[in-house]
């Protein structure tokens, strides 16, 4: 009964490949997010979606494209992967009318070789 689940947990791929990370939440939250945690453990927002609508896009390269088929799912597709994309990507969700912060998934460690 995981609240926010991401797949895969680990992803190793070569430069230039295209990959996707999936995220699902069963909390009934309205908003979902993608955050990137770099090698220095700094968490930075990439995107947020509210009821399938893109709300925040924080100067992320066009190679990153989020897709939200419904409010319980937010996937991240990355084209033409680069070495600098190596990081841990966290999905999170929140309920707007009960501001209690985010619930995070366990992360996807992406390694580009």
């Amino acid at each position: 009964d995981t609240a926010v689940s991401q797949t895969p947990k680990y992803l190793v791929t070569q430069m230039g490949n295209d990959k996707s990370i999936k995220c699902e939440q069963n909390l009934g939250h309205d908003t979902m997010y993608w955050y990137k945690q770099d090698s220095k453990k700094f968490l930075k927002i990439m995107f947020s979606y509210n009821n399938k609508e893109l709300i925040i896009n924080e100067t992320v390269p066009n190679r990153f494209s989020p897709k939200s088929p419904d409010k319980a799912h937010l996937n991240l597709h990355i084209n033409s992967l680069e070495l600098g994309d190596s990081a841990v990507y966290f999905c999170a969700s929140s309920q707007d009318d009960r501001w209690e912060g985010y619930t995070f998934g366990s992360g996807t460690r992406l390694t580009v070789v």
């Binding site: 908003t31 930075k44 966290f90 501001w99 912060g101 985010y102 619930t103 995070f104």
Partner: protein, 112 residues
């Protein structure tokens, strides 16, 4: 621009040795200040939200306090299982949505 600065970057304590972690911030309008705990290989786990200066919240050995410029996470008589990275984050409303701006965290190690 919103900024969150945490200090120290790393802290080593002996079991039972109380201490405090600092989070200083600048924001145009504070919606909430959050504390999270992150264990290696896991996502951040929510601890507290503080909304206004003077507010305090407690949970077991942890107590969070808030002023207009900073927040403290006080750890009383820590145990080895309190070892983790503690993240501070703030939120302000803007554009009809919320986003959290995180500090770089304080890595706490409690030795038995």
């Amino acid at each position: 621009e919103d900024q969150v600065t945490q200090s120290p970057e790393a802290l080593r304590l002996q079991e039972g040795e109380s201490s405090s972690l600092n989070c200083s911030y600048t924001v145009s309008g504070l919606r909430g200040l959050f504390w999270y705990r992150q264990d290696p290989g896991k996502g951040p786990e929510f601890l507290f939200t503080l909304y206004s200066a003077g507010e305090e919240k407690e949970k077991e050995r942890l107590k969070a306090t808030l002023t207009k410029k900073e927040s403290f996470l006080h750890i009383t008589a820590p145990k080895p299982e309190d070892s983790a990275t503690y993240l501070c984050a703030l939120a302000h409303t803007g554009g009809g949505s919320e986003k959290l701006v995180f500090g770089k965290g304080t890595k706490l190690t409690v030795n038995p």
